[in-house]
Subunit: 342 residues, 2 copies
Amino acid sequence: MKLQNDLFLRAITGEVVERPPVWLMRQAGRTLPNYRKIRASVPDFKTLVESPELIVEATVEPVEVLGVDAAIIFSDILVIPEAMGLPYELLEKRGPRFPRTIKTQADVRGLRTGVDAAAQLAHTYESVRLTKQRLQGRVPLIGFAGAPWTIMAYMVEGSGSKTFASAKEMLFKSPELAHQLLDKITQATIAYLKEKIIAGVDVIQLFDSWAGILSPHQYHQFAMPYLKEICDHIQEVPVTVFSKGAWFALKEIGALNCQAIGLDWNTTPQFARAQLGNEKVLQGNLDPCQLFDTLDNIEKATLSMLKEFGTKHIANLGHGVYPETPVEAIHCFVDTVKRFRY
Amino acid sequence: MKLQNDLFLRAITGEVVERPPVWLMRQAGRTLPNYRKIRASVPDFKTLVESPELIVEATVEPVEVLGVDAAIIFSDILVIPEAMGLPYELLEKRGPRFPRTIKTQADVRGLRTGVDAAAQLAHTYESVRLTKQRLQGRVPLIGFAGAPWTIMAYMVEGSGSKTFASAKEMLFKSPELAHQLLDKITQATIAYLKEKIIAGVDVIQLFDSWAGILSPHQYHQFAMPYLKEICDHIQEVPVTVFSKGAWFALKEIGALNCQAIGLDWNTTPQFARAQLGNEKVLQGNLDPCQLFDTLDNIEKATLSMLKEFGTKHIANLGHGVYPETPVEAIHCFVDTVKRFRY
């Protein structure tokens, strides 16, 4: 089906466009009124992530309410560990927890990978298909996955953490075991993304949420090779890589076989361009806290961001929308971008 | 009293020395056996911070057990808000909590500052005097304070936070109020540090622990002017500024009237030198997680760090020692530095 609004796809492939497309990480979430109803209709977040009809509702709502230029399929990066055989719980306000974690070679050996892992996630592909039908070509649909290091961090640590000391301990003390685990995650992720593409997603985004806790040396050793492998294997659609906090690796990230690079709000477009050159499209990077500001200030800050980035830019925040963000602030951000012209 | 080991003072003032001095952030803490006894002898952490005799024990133990080249007075950055009139609690494993927080102009107006605030902390100056006596000139004594932005972040947010969204909201929405608060913190901090210097500390370190959550623009506006004011007013002893995560501000930090700059483990000495030039002494930056590695690997990583930094370096970790670090690992780190020669 031909897209009615293909601005996002034109921009991410480097075409000259009239204005930057705009969407927000975590745009389908607690800030929107209908989402709260959807969330209240199920006992927990995981039930929501496994219910295709509800996923369609949550995914399409920001397109209809906010008028963003792309939808992103409502899901969770931790469906991959679960598909590999490591189930998790999501505790309200406390985040994810894995009752079992990965410690030994036997633990890694016991994990599913590749198409066997990907086959566990039929409900996600089904929700992609249903969402595409429901979108009726209005905007493109983004699919996402966690980057292998971030997924490994959760599988070894067992929960979120300020330091991810156990996961990093494995990198230091058992680098071969870490590489085996990272490789299995990578193969599962590639198979999963390929199924999502077959089901209809138009763009892939990889989230390396815990990039910033590794040293440049460790990031080079344990994160980059697997990001590269995924990018090299996903050639069907454009790919965005967002490694939060990995400013020190931007030069290497710029050499990946991908179309766009996400930036957090610490990283200026000037710094990024100096590291990356002018080829890649940049995505980001308004501080999500800025959306707690007055509407006047949000408009000014958004315009100033748009001017600093210039062309080859996809407007977004530098991280996911915070849950308590007023919906008028999000409207102001989106509308400011949509009124802007290069 | 003449120092027996003045390596740290010679290094921080830029002298050519035979090897880098070494100490560890949070060296007096849970990793050491006697500290655990001291901690168990009081009902809570705050009682410890207010007991000069126990502070002496905790401060001197790492010098005697680990053989580090500097002591750092055992204290807490949050004594400043309390001295200004905003008391806090420290909950075991949950961190600090302020029952009252700063929200309005009246809240800021009600705070003590300058010498009035500093006068509340007589027990700290007493513990500096007692520690100096007990050290008998073996090594220099470091005194520290939180940087104004970090202190403000706690005073407004009321606790630790992943995002410090309330504190940042004040920067966005009420910049004048934020500047008034930052100024009061700054004046209290200067008076406090001057008293500590009179009591005998040989070096000052400023910790900007939450630097990394601000954008470059906000850091420039709300953090740098106050760091500058403190550095300009503390000329009696050398000053180290450690702004964790503020890689984007290193050029500006390098222009401060201070002798040394702390680096976290994300920041290579090559990057820092490119930003800062060669004048300042650099301090850091082994990943504290590296101390969970094997002793062989710790030695290799420490040596490789020492070579990368070259001269004008004070060996340290890139953050505080993690509580569960094995004491043999800390010994290995310290001893490796002490055997090294340029």
